[in-house]
Amino acid sequence: MYNKFMDKSFFSIFKVFFKIGALLLGGGYVILPLLTSELAQKKGWLTSDELCEYYAISTSLPGIVAANVAIFTGRKLLGTKGAIAAIVGVTLPAFVAIILLASVLTEIVHFKSVNYIFWGVGIGVITLLFLAVKEMWHSCITDKWTSAIYIVCLLLALSGKFSPAIIVIFSILVGLITQFIKSRRIKND
């Protein structure tokens, strides 16, 4: 009989994440349903609650969300070895696909029609970007405080004088200072 709860070896974890990486089309957003179907439903290695928790934390950590979730789950399954298996697995399909495509791209850009297509696709990409902003907007800008941070950061970014890293550090400081003031106020009351 096929054992659903097969052993969690380095290679079996790698295989699952390689599959997820290959199916991860259109960005990392779809990783949660993929993880749930592969790891919770098919393998039974983790519960979907655990996966949801890892996903939620991953979105609040720096770096690529899909990579963060992969490291979390890999680590939970088989420690550091599992984390390495997961991250290599989820990255490899993307890596190979891009190397192959990049080699082809440099050849085909000499065709006029290819340039026209890329001109058109540029519009599609900018559309997707603004739609992503709209999606983020709903979960990010919830009150006056977050609106103020948004406006200040936008102005800083548009001025062209500050690197994104500086703006990120700025917002971390704003968060820390706000919480510090708040904690002290509560203590004093």
Binding site: T59, G63, V90, I117, W119, G124, V125, A132, S171
Partner: protein, 180 residues
């Protein structure tokens, strides 16, 4: 002169440390790299973003691999991809050990709450800059507006916008309405 592999490593390591918000969060940093180092042009960046949306894997990984590969071949691709992942590996490993303290810490909650609008603002800024640098012409701007309105009304698959815009580009280009 600093070794190109090392420079790639440093720049993409920085992305791994500072990009918040997933998906396109790496974009503001990739834009900065295009301006500063000219490893790829802004228009190559949007081309690549389209390609990344159609290929497997997270966009951030795709971009790291692509930038590394175009600047210095397969070793560059490995260097940049490894660099963008390394901070995740370190940070997640630490957070994994202190998961419960991490979730309940008020300072962390507040910082995360501040980082989200910052990430959103950075992405908005890139979008605005792209509109002005992408050589859209009048017709392209009009198409963008139509796309945005349609996207705000109804959520569609990213492939829809890329597919339709590719066809539009092909038609308009061949009619010689734009000089690309």
């Amino acid at each position: 002169m600093i070794n190109i592999y090392l420079l790639l490593f440093i720049q993409f390591f920085k992305i791994g440390v500072f990009s918040f918000g997933g998906g396109y969060a790496t974009l503001p940093f990739l834009y900065e790299i295009a301006e500063k180092f000219h490893w790829y042009s802004i228009s190559q960046l949007t081309d690549m973003l389209a390609v990344a949306s159609l290929t497997p894997g997270p966009v951030g990984v795709n971009m790291a691999t692509y930038a590394g590969f175009t600047t210095s071949g397969i070793v560059g691709a490995l260097s940049a991809t490894f660099a963008v992942m390394l901070p995740s590996f370190i940070i997640v490993s630490i957070v994994f050990k202190i998961l419960h303290r991490f979730k309940s810490n008020l300072y962390i909650q507040r910082v995360v709450k501040a980082l989200k609008p910052a990430g959103c603002a950075l992405l908005s800024a890139v979008g605005i800059k792209l509109v002005f640098t992408a050589n859209l012409h009048l017709i392209g701007t009009l198409i963008l507006i139509v796309f945005l309105i349609s996207g705000f009304i109804k959520k569609r698959d990213p492939i829809f916008y890329l597919g339709v815009s590719a066809i539009i580009g092909l038609i308009i280009g061949n009619l010689h309405w734009i000089g690309v």
